[in-house]
């Protein structure tokens, strides 16, 4: 079969051909970029925090009429209240371990600062988020210690929320250790946090721990974290609790009840969105943190599907029209000996030509759109694999869409050749 008659026929329908080519090109460009955005969001949603997330939950609560926390006596009082709470949580039958900690990865409650290697350094070497809590943090959160030692009870300190005290020892995440000491010898080194003097000593390194925030301004230090063995004393407190395997729900029900029983002068909300003053499993914290990304991925997915349907419908519509218009010519070809298969092939090849031109133009548009998005929305570069898969999908879509009208064309009887109109 030669292409010449097909090209000659297409020349008679320039406007229609250009439109359908344009439509396929635009669809390819948009779908490729949308799928790329989806895959990026899905990767982001599933990246591990470094915590052993199963069976973990967080209790955030607020005391009503608590001591002010502005003098040592009231700070000590707040610390005693906090220790009592942790003890109550530890005693629960469904709880394996519990620890006071001011925040958790993805919880949104971020405290971060610059880290310096020398006290008089003008700009900080790296930025990191701080976690303040009990010395058992590494164990309760299920972090993986890869160098140095864990905290012990003797490292434990406590501090008022607004106090400016420096912890003598800290554990850092590997990402931060690498940023500060690229030679991999962070353990035993001293660092200066914020404007604090004297320095703190790194005693251990954990494999991975994410910061509490996933906001874009914090993405450069997403895994730079410092664990500080000092309980934060304020009129609010947070606890990370590990339930016994399979007992998460029971433990989450018991925890606020037991805390209220010991001291009713507090606020803990047990339902609603993730916020301060709530009890939530880590799975819920994760789902809440990434809700915008999930919504974006779903929206992009829906748009891709609708767009492909619209383009498919457009091809069906236009080809149907062409078939209707050429009934007489098809009849003549049939009368002259063309088989049904030949007619089918004709329309399929015609579509392949149009779609082929469309995807070539679309591939250029897709890369261009990606470059524009990189500039406007700080997106990453799209791998060409997306474009290649997109090309394949659109060519298949074209063939699928053209099949029904082409089959109808192949059914045209040779008698049509003798009829006028």
């Amino acid at each position: 079969m030669t292409l010449h008659p097909i090209l000659a026929a297409l020349k008679k329908h320039k406007a229609g051909v250009i439109l359908i080519t344009l439509q396929i090109a635009l669809t390819l460009a948009i779908v490729c970029n949308a799928v790329f955005i989806i895959s990026q969001r899905v990767d982001r949603i599933h990246r591990p925090t470094g915590l052993d997330e199963a069976n973990l939950f967080q209790v955030n609560q607020l005391w009503v009429n608590a001591p002010t926390g502005n003098d040592q006596a009231s700070i000590d009082k707040l610390d005693a209240m906090q220790r009592a709470d942790v003890e109550i949580l530890r005693q629960l039958p469904d709880v394996e371990s519990a620890v006071a900690i001011n925040s958790l990865p993805l919880s949104g409650n971020n405290w971060s600062g610059g880290i310096r290697l020398k006290p008089d350094q003008k700009t900080s070497t790296a930025h990191a988020s701080f976690y303040f809590g009990g010395w058992q943090m590494v164990h309760v959160l299920g972090l993986q210690l890869i160098a140095g030692r864990d905290f012990t009870a003797t490292d434990q300190r406590h501090r008022g929320f607004r106090e400016k005290t420096v912890p003598p020892v800290v554990i850092v995440s590997k990402a931060l250790a690498d940023a500060l000491f690229p030679n991999g010898d962070a353990v035993g080194k001293s660092i200066y946090m914020n404007n604090d003097v004297p320095p703190s000593t790194i005693i251990g390194v954990v494999a991975r721990m994410q910061t509490p925030t996933i906001a874009s301004w914090a993405k450069d230090f997403a895994f730079n974290t410092i664990l500080i063995p000092a309980r934060m004393d304020a009129n609010f407190s947070g606890y990370a609790v590990r339930a016994k395997p399979g007992r998460l729900e029971a433990a989450m029900r018991e925890a606020p009840r037991a805390l209220f029983a010991a001291n009713p002068m507090r606020v803990i909300e047990t339902s609603g969105d993730y916020e301060d003053r709530t009890v939530h499993s880590f799975a819920e914290i994760r789902a809440y943190a990434y809700r915008a990304d999930r919504g974006m991925a779903i929206l992009m997915g829906v748009i891709c599907v609708i767009l492909l349907c619209v383009t498919g419908a457009g091809i069906v519509g236009l080809t149907s029209f062409w078939v209707g218009q050429r009934r007489k010519q098809i009849g003549i070809r049939r009368a002259l000996g063309a088989t049904q298969r030949d007619i089918l092939r004709y329309f399929q090849t015609e579509n392949l030509l149009i779609a082929g031109a469309g995807v070539v133009l679309g591939a250029i548009l897709a890369v261009g759109l990606n470059l524009w998005l990189m500039k406007q929305f700080a997106m990453d570069r799209m791998s060409l694999a997306y474009v290649l898969v997109g090309i394949l999908v659109l060519l298949l879509l074209g063939q699928g869409a053209v099949f029904a009208p082409a089959r109808r064309a192949s059914k045209v009887s040779p008698v049509e050749a003798t009829r006028s109109v």
Partner: protein, 436 residues
């Protein structure tokens, strides 16, 4: 004539129901998707105080130390307590207010309620008049009350409903954080979106329920919220105080200036103030001031989430594909009727008449597509509202966007009809009739 074209259009559309449905659907889907995202964008980038926003300015000065100083650095986004009070007391603007967000425990007298926390705003007298906050009962407090650390409080209608069943509660007492306050005013519904005057506490869907004089709140050590920017030896909390140190910027300062000339003069005043403070030794850097108006301030802070902007662009791309699709289908439809159109031409209809007839037909498709698009947009917005993001609840179609929907649908379909109609009425009638 138009009625006749309309009749012809409806007949023609009825003849090929599948193609017509495809065209209407394509327009509807394109319009529905773009209207959904445009409405969200419109709601989020809207002017929180129409008519007033051009007169509100957010002054910024630079009291930071020399460390990390580089040419072109921007001044901090908030002011220190000292500078805030100095600028407030200078009274160089028509109105000015210094403010900070916080949370306070409300201790109702009635035993029906346990103590509960509400978001609060600690501010100064001009706040209400400056931001056009409507009062249901009573009024705000005066500048003298500010200086006297008066135990005055303005509550929202929502809190008034909760505590006093919506009755006029002005003059009544309210226990807040262990102190007794006198309610001087009850605000009517007032929810500026975005929460422009303090973006640090959340841009959308964040509302205070209690407003009290700043100096009263500071005296009572009420909890504060929001970002703190410190330099030198400053820390977010000083020992023995609930508030950041003097080398921290943590309050928002707004001024009202009703003419550009006054705004220019105020900027000069800020420069003079910076120079004066430098002479006094408080400031180290050369004067570095900014005076943005409300909308510029929102723009500078990128208040509209970038996801929403991305979605709006995506929706426009989507509309473009649907439009191209419709042009193709209309072309197919109109060209198929070459025979019929040739007969009309032969019988004396002018090209202009045919063109009008065909555009009427695409207009009908546009209106049907617009109606379908509206339904899809309502469905889309309903889906957006079900999404748990902080701005989702605001996504409603207003009359303005409703009109835009129809204008866009009609415009898009007429645009889609022009090329096919022009091509169709250029068919040479003699040739067409002969070939049949």
């Amino acid at each position: 004539m138009f009625a006749y074209y309309l009749d012809l259009a409806l007949r023609s559309l009825k003849r090929n129901k599948v193609l017509t449905a495809l065209m209407v659907l394509a327009i509807a889907v394109g319009i529905g998707a773009s209207m959904t995202t445009l409405t969200v964008l419109h709601v989020l980038s809207g002017d929180p105080l129409p008519g007033k926003s051009g007169e509100l300015y957010y002054p910024q000065i630079d009291p930071q130390d020399a460390r990390g100083m580089m040419p072109g650095t921007l001044p901090p986004e908030q002011v220190t307590l000292i500078d805030g009070m100095n600028l407030l007391r200078a009274k160089r603007a028509d109105r000015q207010a210094l403010m900070e967000g916080g949370a306070v425990p409300i201790q109702p007298d009635s035993s029906a309620f346990d103590p509960f926390y509400v978001e609060a705003r600690y501010t100064t007298a001009d706040f209400f008049a400056m931001f056009d906050a409507p009062f249901r009962y009573g009024h705000g407090w005066s500048g003298a009350d500010d200086e006297a650390h008066a135990r005055d409080v303005v509550i929202t209608r929502q809190l008034d409903d909760k505590l006093f069943n919506g009755a006029d509660s002005t003059g009544r007492a309210l226990r807040i954080g262990g102190s007794t306050f006198r309610i001087v005013g009850v605000l009517d519904d007032w929810r500026p979106n975005p929460h422009f005057y303090d973006l640090g506490t959340g841009s959308y869907d964040y509302y205070e329920q209690v407003f009290m004089p700043l100096q009263t709140a500071l005296e009572l050590h009420f909890d504060r919220n929001g970002s703190v920017d410190c330099w030198g030896n400053g820390t977010g909390g000083q020992e023995g105080s609930a508030y950041p140190s003097p080398t921290c910027a943590w309050l928002q300062f707004w001024v009202e200036l009703d003419s550009p000339a006054k705004a220019a003069a105020y900027k000069q005043f800020l420069i003079h103030y910076s120079e004066e403070q430098k002479t006094l030794g408080r400031f180290v850097r050369a004067p570095n001031v900014q005076l943005r108006d409300l909308m510029q301030w929102l723009d500078y802070n990128d208040v509209v989430p970038s996801d929403v902007r991305l979605q709006a662009w995506l929706a426009f791309g989507f509309l473009l594909v649907c439009l191209v699709n419709t042009v193709g289908l209309m072309l197919a439809k109109f060209m198929r009727r070459s025979g019929e159109l040739s007969v009309r031409r032969a019988l004396g209809a002018s090209r202009r008449a045919l063109f009008a007839q065909l555009l009427t037909e695409s207009g009908v498709i546009g209106i049907a597509g617009g109606a379908g698009g509206l339904l899809l947009a309502l469905l889309g917005l309903w889906l957006v509202r079900r999404r748990p993001s902080d701005y989702a609840a605001l996504a409603h179609l207003d009359p303005e966007m409703l009109a835009v929907t129809f204008a866009l649908a009609l415009g898009a379909s007429l645009l889609a009809g022009i090329l096919p109609a022009w091509r169709a009425c250029n068919v040479s009638p003699a040739l067409q009739l002969k070939s049949q």
